[in-house]
Amino acid sequence: MKSFSPPLKISTPRAAPRLLWPLVALALIFAVDGIISPHFFAIRIVEGRLFGNLVDIVYRATPIAIVALGMAIVIGTKGIDLSVGAIIAIVGATLDWRIHMGDPHLLALAIALAAGVACGLWNGLLVAVLDIQPIIATLILMVSGRGVGLMINLIYGGSDPSFESPLLQGLSTGHIGLIPTRILVGIGLWIALWALVRRTALGLFLEAVGANPKAAELAGVEARAIKWAAYVISGFMAAAAGVILTADTHTSDPVSIGLYSELDAILAVVIGGGSLNGGRIYLLGAVLGAVVIQALTTSILTSGLPPEYNLVVKAGVVLVVLLLQSARTRAAVARLATGRKR
């Protein structure tokens, strides 16, 4: 298959309005924050790194943003990957296991990432080759993946899964210059993925498969291979997030690590303007969506609202953003505003 350069940019004209609503949501959240606590936006330098709510939001949003980037690719092919939380658990357990086996930490990191890729290969096999609906195909790994993680923990006894690793913890919680390393890792992955999708023909193929697989196939696109690649990318991104999250807690906890991350990642993609009907990939939107979700969570915590309100407020904001995105709702609101004619 030949790759074309420069690629056709079919999504550019509509990208701006799609990013409008997540930006509006973010602005609203920050506006409320600014009113509640005037020092919300203060950024200080403590112990040689940046500190402040804004930095914290990006810092905490990074793992979900990374997962959401992979999810955006899968959703672009009209698929969905429910297994990313389970992949995070498997990758965390694998990383911990290899470190306990005495592997060099760089090798352990590579093996853990490979575990994520293997999970992606499995999902892709089910979706692309066996032709199983993505939501069910990935449900299989979602249901069993955390169990696999627990079994991996048991390989080395699993009595004390905690570990120390300057390399991995540096990647997760360290900082280079003033900036937390994981944010740099996230940006690096984002740029790499962007280059892969927008500077090669892969992005075009992915979107073509998502928009109309039959037409894409007739046009000579290897639809199966492209779909398979999407799940492998998603598995790899989930693995990267899994390494960051596992190194953060210094332990492997397959039951609770990355819980609900598949839901957050899908939400991030949708808030960022991605449609579950496929055919479009918005990487920037996915990142923005993850930041919106985290900004909301952080704002609820810093606003002094009891943390138990977190989920309800999150659900409310998500609904509002979704309703705003729905053309039909906007039309109905406009009709009401301009004198109620049916």
Binding site: I132, I135, V312, L322, A327
Partner: protein, 320 residues
């Protein structure tokens, strides 16, 4: 269309085979006592799965099931502390469940947002609402709860059907009638089979969507009531992940997740298989919970691939 029975027949065969394996491995496993226990323990899940089955048959999905179960429990426990009779609070919550489901259905159809996302918001909303009601486990102290638990229908062989299992069978009977004897049921199948054709044939898409999610909400709320009575408590984390188990039960029961094909009664056998796996692993004693997750996943995989082979020819391999 008799081939739609094949997945269900396979499910029943797997259930019988697994039961046989249990009987071969452990003394006293092959008894109506174990069977009754499986039905009793999983009644709430099977009830929720029946509702999920309708939603899935219509071509949708409902992720708010688990949170609904938790929310119903904590509200019932809270009202119990105010001296409400559990039947009264149960009635209120079942009406609430139907209303909540109807709202989800309306948003899905009117705003044209994917059911996955709308019910995901519902999942967050109801789970958050649980935490707002209480952060602790609350007991249900009304004497009715123990009266309810005392009801049992003896089975031949020393076992018995407890009240929650009886409630489940009643709910299943109603569901079978709704699915196969009413025009609404026919509409659900038509809509799940081919939405555009159904609309062209005059199936009221919006009304059917709203009703099917209302029914899903009603059944998951009823499942929550049974769970609260069964555990005689309300716990804000109760039912976490139950939506996945319910969907798995529906798939194991032979319903296609693309909609339109499947039988309501499948949810019973799907739920019973999940319960049987957990029971087998508990009987073993040396296996841990990880095995329950893995074997459920493996079984799900086997069934999905089998469905693909058996019913694949029935579903048009459309572009979507």
């Amino acid at each position: 269309m008799k081939r739609t029975w094949l997945p269900l027949a396979a499910t029943i065969a797997v259930f019988v085979a697994l039961f046989g394996v249990g009987g071969a491995l452990y003394n006293h496993f092959l008894s109506s006592l174990v069977l009754g226990d499986i039905l009793d323990d999983n009644a709430f899940l099977i009830i929720a799965a029946i509702g999920a089955n309708f939603v899935i048959l219509s071509g949708g999905i409902d992720l708010s099931i688990g949170s609904m179960i938790g929310f119903v429990g904590v509200v019932m426990a809270k009202l119990d502390a105010f001296g409400w009779h559990p039947l009264a609070s149960a009635a209120v919550m079942i009406v609430f469940g139907a209303g909540f489901g109807a709202c989800q259905g309306l948003i899905i159809d009117f705003c044209e947002i994917q059911p996955f996302i709308v019910t995901l918001a519902g999942l967050f909303l109801l789970r958050g609402a649980c935490f707002m009601v209480t952060l602790d486990s609350l007991p249900l102290r009304h004497p009715f709860v123990s009266d309810f638990a005392a009801v049992a229908l003896p089975l031949p062989g020393g076992g018995f059907l407890a009240s929650s299992a009886l409630a489940m069978f009643a709910a299943l009977a109603v569901a079978v009638v709704i699915a196969h004897k009413t025009s609404f049921g026919a509409n659900v199948y038509a809509m799940g089979g081919d939405r555009t054709s159904a609309a062209l044939m005059g199936v009221p898409i919006r009304a059917t969507t709203v009703k099917v999610y209302a029914l899903g909400g009603l059944y998951s709320a009823f499942g929550g009531v049974i769970y609260a009575l069964y555990t005689s408590s309300g716990y804000p984390l109760a039912g976490s992940g139950a939506e996945l188990s319910a969907i798995a039960a529906v798939v194991l029961g032979g319903t296609l997740l693309t909609g339109g094909i499947g039988l309501v009664v499948g949810a019973l056998f799907g739920g019973m298989i999940l319960g049987l796996i957990a029971t087998l692993i508990n009987f073993n004693g040396s296996l841990n919970g990880a095995w329950i997750m893995i074997s459920s996943g493996v079984l799900l995989f086997v069934f999905i691939v089998m469905q693909r082979a058996l019913v694949g020819s029935l579903t048009p391999r459309s572009a979507s």
